[in-house]
């Protein structure tokens, strides 16, 4: 009990939102794709993935490897094979349906289709005979049927019983959702007590109902009336609901009202939502609660919110070593851009500032915890940027030509304007050129050299160029040089 309370106390509000959002996404995927082939295959792929994880946890190396390959291939196959189905789900529906709507699915059963079709035919005075077999086989009493095996549809029924159709005089036998035979000949009844307006079609319906436990629906061509024959009863049917009830009673189908149907739908979606929640919670627990992996990362330190009047002159460290722990899945997924150490310099002053690196300075992805930081403190030296005019000096190198002296060196400009931290600039009294080789000077004249700024934090002011012109004079040496 105490452990449970401790566990609950560690759950953040972000975790709850995280689980709820992803549960809803999973539920939406189910709602949008339910009933499609892609969804069934997706369930299969998920099962494969679970099997792979199980195999890996049991140490079944080859099995785990094989299932992983199959899963990867299956995921690609889903996208390729079911691309049209996926596209239709994602494109056709509007944004409301996509995000939060519950698609109103067509709930018409074959019985509803048959009922509608029967009364349409009655209205158009098209005669029809529909046989719904019971438990008894009809082979002994029904003859001449032509195999059809077509899905029940309104158009199909109208075309079968169309007066000019070749099979319209026979009966259509319906099993489940299919019309299995058409043009079937039914036995005629020998009863004498039938009303005189009943013709051959009614007699055939009564004859089969007497001979077997089938239910026969008959549509009168002359009067446009619908009747149902069952056993020795041949009963007129007034409307579609009555016919539907009769068929469903015969087929032992439960009566479901639209209200009840909606309730069932809601219950189904609620169950799907609960299952989604359980799945996501399980994944979340696996991802975030398994504190089983520790890694160490070297992370560059970012110095932020530096006062505008200061420049960073020096820092004691440029990167920190972080020891992080969390679940292996999260640790493996850490990218360099997700981890940062940011030192806030907003309260720093001129000169040397010491900071302790705390947990607040470390930015980590959710679910990852900080174990240790090295170093725990650092120093940042800030300086005020300033500009100074500093003399330029040539950095001569190599050897002068033999018996020659270099005299009267003058520069243009003699000094350059340099910008940098005041402390840094205070230590710089001379700006040097890049090395100029003496052995390349043929005679008196002039040459140019680039200025080299050291330390690199110094910058030339826009008014100063990076080139210096050197005027020099080479004269014959009055004393021989020591070699």
């Amino acid at each position: 009990m105490g452990g449970l309370l401790t566990f609950i106390s560690t759950i953040r509000w972000q975790d709850i939102v995280d689980v709820l959002i992803n549960s809803y996404i999973l539920l939406r995927v189910y709602i949008l794709f339910q009933g499609t082939n892609a969804f069934r295959v997706l369930v299969g792929v998920t099962s494969l993935w679970l099997a792979q994880e199980l195999a890996a946890s049991l140490g079944l190396i080859l099995t785990s490897w094989a299932i992983r390959g199959i899963t990867a291939a299956a995921a690609i196959i889903i996208i390729v094979v079911f691309r049209n189905e996926i596209r239709s789900v994602l494109q056709v529906r509007n944004i409301k349906t996509f995000l939060w709507g519950f698609p109103a699915r067509e709930q018409r059963t074959p019985v509803d289709i048959i009922t509608d079709s029967v009364f349409q035919m009655a209205q158009k005075r098209i005669g029809a005979l529909l046989v719904f077999p019971g438990n008894q086989a009809l082979g002994e009493v029904v003859h001449g049927g032509i195999p059809w095996n077509g899905q029940v549809s309104n158009e199909m029924l109208l075309s079968i019983f169309w007066p000019k159709g070749p099979v319209h005089d026979g009966a259509a036998i319906v099993r489940g959702e299919q019309i299995v035979e058409v043009g079937a000949l039914l036995p005629l009844t020998h009863r004498q007590d039938l009303p005189s307006e009943y013709g051959t079609r009614h007699r055939a319906a009564a004859g089969l109902a007497e001979a077997a436990d089938a239910l026969v629906v008959v549509v009168s061509e002359e009067r446009g009336k619908v009747s149902v024959a069952k056993g020795r009863d041949l009963t007129p049917v007034a409307d579609g609901q009555e016919l539907s009830q009769a068929i469903k009673r015969h087929l032992n189908m439960p009566e479901i009202s639209p209200v009840h149907q909606r309730k069932r739908e809601r219950l189904k979606f609620a169950s799907a939502g609960f299952v989604s929640f359980l799945i996501i919670s399980g994944i979340w627990l696996g991802f975030t609660r398994g504190q089983d992996t520790i890694i160490a990362l070297n992370v560059p330190i970012e110095y932020v919110h530096r006062p505008a009047s200061y420049d960073i002159l020096d820092t004691s460290v440029d990167e920190a070593r972080l020891q992080l722990f969390g679940s292996s899945a999260l640790i493996r997924s850490i990218g360099p851009e997700q981890v940062a150490v940011r030192i806030d310099l907003s309260k720093a002053t001129e000169g040397r500032n010491a900071f302790a690196i705390t947990q607040d300075d470390v930015i980590l992805p959710p679910g990852i915890s900080l174990n240790r930081i090295k170093p725990s403190t650092l120093e940042v030296t800030l300086d005020i940027p300033t500009t100074r005019q500093i003399p330029v000096q040539v950095d001569w190198t190599s050897r002068l030509p033999k018996d020659m002296d270099l005299t009267d060196v003058s520069l243009s400009p003699t000094s350059v304007s340099v910008t940098g931290g005041s402390t840094t600039l205070a230590k710089v009294d001379t700006i040097y050129t890049c090395p100029v080789r003496l052995d390349s000077l043929p005679k008196s004249g002039r040459t140019t050299a680039e200025i080299v700024l050291s330390p690199p934090s110094l910058k030339l002011s826009p008014s100063s160029t990076g080139l210096v012109t050197i005027h020099y004079r080479l004269v014959k040496s009055r004393t021989p040089q020591h070699q």
Partner: protein
């Protein structure tokens, strides 16, 4: 009649031996800067390979390390009263050595010298300053191969 007085001081600092020679001189040259009457004035300052008979020999801006030494020659006129100046030798902005040189009225020439080593190659400057830190002149040169 010329009167010469020599004073040799040897100082050993970071780069090696450093010598200073002080002498009155009649050598005339254009002063590097104008100064009010009665104030110490630097008439001439030059880097040279050596000083002989109070004359800088082989003045220049570049000296080979193989020459063994380099001198900073300075001449003051007038010298109102007995005072001291300093030759501060900097190698790449790092103070390498400093020589204290005495000056006597009415005019005085003096120089400091450093012995050269392989590690002394690179750009140098010598600041000529008084005891109050006033910089008379800055001489720039290089030590090369």
């Amino acid at each position: 009649m010329k009167l010469f007085a020599y004073l040799l001081s040897a100082f050993l600092f970071f780069t090696g031996a450093c010598h200073a020679l002080q002498t009155p001189t009649d050598q005339r040259s254009q002063p590097p800067q104008a100064a009010p009457a009665g104030q110490l004035l630097l008439k001439k300052a030059v880097m040279c390979q050596r000083v002989e008979n109070l004359t800088p020999i082989s003045p220049g801006a570049v000296f080979s390390v193989s020459s063994g030494q380099v001198c900073c020659y300075t001449s003051f006129d007038p010298v109102p009263r007995h005072t001291v100046v300093y030759h501060r030798w900097y190698h790449r902005d790092e103070l390498s050595t400093q020589t204290r040189l005495r000056l006597y009225p009415k005019k005085w020439s003096t120089y400091s010298v450093i012995q050269l080593r392989e590690t002394d190659k690179g750009p140098w400057r010598v600041e000529v300053v008084d005891q109050n830190g006033h910089v008379f002149d800055v001489l720039r040169f290089s030590i090369t191969d």
